[in-house]
Symmetry: C2
């Protein structure tokens, strides 16, 4: 391996440079370029089409916040749909919850799964769990056609700027998700950078509000993504996250490194300059 | 002005690169190198000895969180001591509070004040307020010798890695601050990066705990400083920040862009991986 600098843009005129010891894997799947890069301070990183998808050092923040905020808001989540999430990190967090009966993971790119199992075993291992079913199909078509209902849908996609994810950020897709949710169902999705990509994030929230009665933004710092806390969407028909309907289950031995009930509530506190735009 | 890239280190192997249109000011005072740099995405930046002290784009987060968290935790703050803060941003936020009778600012470097008044008028203007007194002396000696008591002490220094600030992070200085506080007095200080400089931040909190009965860490994202939320210390003899003893004053027209009562409480929520070390 030869050392090099991995560089990514935070905004048009700000970039972050990571010293790396080398590239462990590089391949081109039908859908995207998949790389595994060894960085000195973030550890191994999964890079899709040049964009950091996860790093060993901070993936726990992303996966715990995408999963536990909706799951602990729900009184009794049984059936979970994961859209994307081929690395296995989201499935790993979901499967920590007692009582889950079925996890359906719909990933378009089987090669992400293979690479994750090989290079990120602490994530990829979850993909072999008996309660988990993996389908290698386009989630847009899958959600449009299913008649099954889920308690939770987790959208663990790449960013909307990447072509093959664009369809996961449309009103039509969100409408299909709404139909695939039970009455107390919750959808959570990763969205973007509220500080440097405010307009993009706002446009996604506008689309979500046209579909879901309850739409909330919540935040968590993911240092390998942006310079400010990254945003997630919490959407439902009837449940507000403040109700914390499942929070009493937290103390029964579920282990986390980032999430806890204080963080659950704090993640929804919005700075004054964002409240007018995002809290309606 | 000639365009260039301003670069700063987040950790030994991670750096952030900001495209800049040029340097507006550069001088060497008795204490430090003072520069004003025009960056494309953060606006004008005050740079002391090569380290970003503030930027036009995000200084509001830093100054509001350093000031309003302690001031709204206090039932009736009248007399405020600012240690450092020569740019005027902290004074500007303090002076938004009704009822303040006296603000004492102790800045070692008069040239920071002059540069701020010229290049950052929205901050520097506060330095001419009639309730504000400016002393150009070493705050360590000043606090050691005063007999006056303050309701709030705000430590708005440069980082502990910079030589002339080191004395502001010692147990001896904290002990002198404790003596200069009223019975309900509160000290707030900027500390550092909990993710990439965890040991440094922990050592400062250990020293604070040896002096103050109540010591709490709170967080706010300041994108021009680090990749994760930056940490502040809240220290007092008797008052806990959750009590929010002054929060009812918030709605009487005090204008903020970051701080609000929800943020006040959320800033104290610690991720699980930090709770054991910081919440005692």
């Amino acid at each position: 391996m030869s050392p090099y600098v991995f560089r990514y843009e935070i905004s048009p005129h700000i970039s972050v440079h990571l010293e790396c010891s080398g590239i462990l894997h590089s391949s081109q799947s039908r859908f995207q370029k998949i790389e595994v890069v060894e960085s000195l301070d973030f550890g191994k990183m999964l890079v899709l089409d040049g964009v950091i998808n996860l790093t060993e050092r901070d993936e726990f923040v992303y996966h715990e916040m995408l999963v536990h905020v909706p799951l602990f808001s729900h009184p009794k989540p049984l059936k979970i749909l994961i859209v994307g999430g081929g690395d296995g990190g989201t499935a790993r967090e979901v499967l920590k919850h007692e009582g889950i009966t079925r996890v359906q993971l719909v990933e378009i790119d089987g090669e992400v799964i293979a690479v994750s199992k090989k290079f990120f075993p602490s994530l990829g291992l979850a993909l072999g769990h008996p309660k988990l079913n993996v389908l290698l199909v386009d989630a847009i078509q899958y959600v449009r056609e299913i008649e099954e209902k889920f308690d939770i849908i987790l959208i663990d996609s790449t960013d909307p700027v990447i072509e093959q994810s664009e369809g996961l950020f449309t009103g039509a897709f969100y409408g299909d998700c709404l139909k695939a949710l039970t009455e107390q169902g919750i959808l959570a999705a990763q969205v973007g950078d509220i500080f440097f990509e405010t307009d993009l994030v706002l446009s996604i929230f506008t689309r979500l509000r046209e579909v879901f009665p309850i739409v909330r933004i919540y935040l968590a710092p993911i240092p390998s993504y942006t310079l400010v806390p990254y945003s997630f969407a919490f959407c439902s028909k009837t449940i507000h996250p403040e109700m914390g309907l499942g929070l009493s289950r937290f103390d029964r031995g579920l282990e986390t490194r980032y999430y806890n009930p204080q963080i659950h509530h704090a993640a929804f506190a919005l700075p004054e300059h964002l409240r007018e735009e995002f809290e309606r």
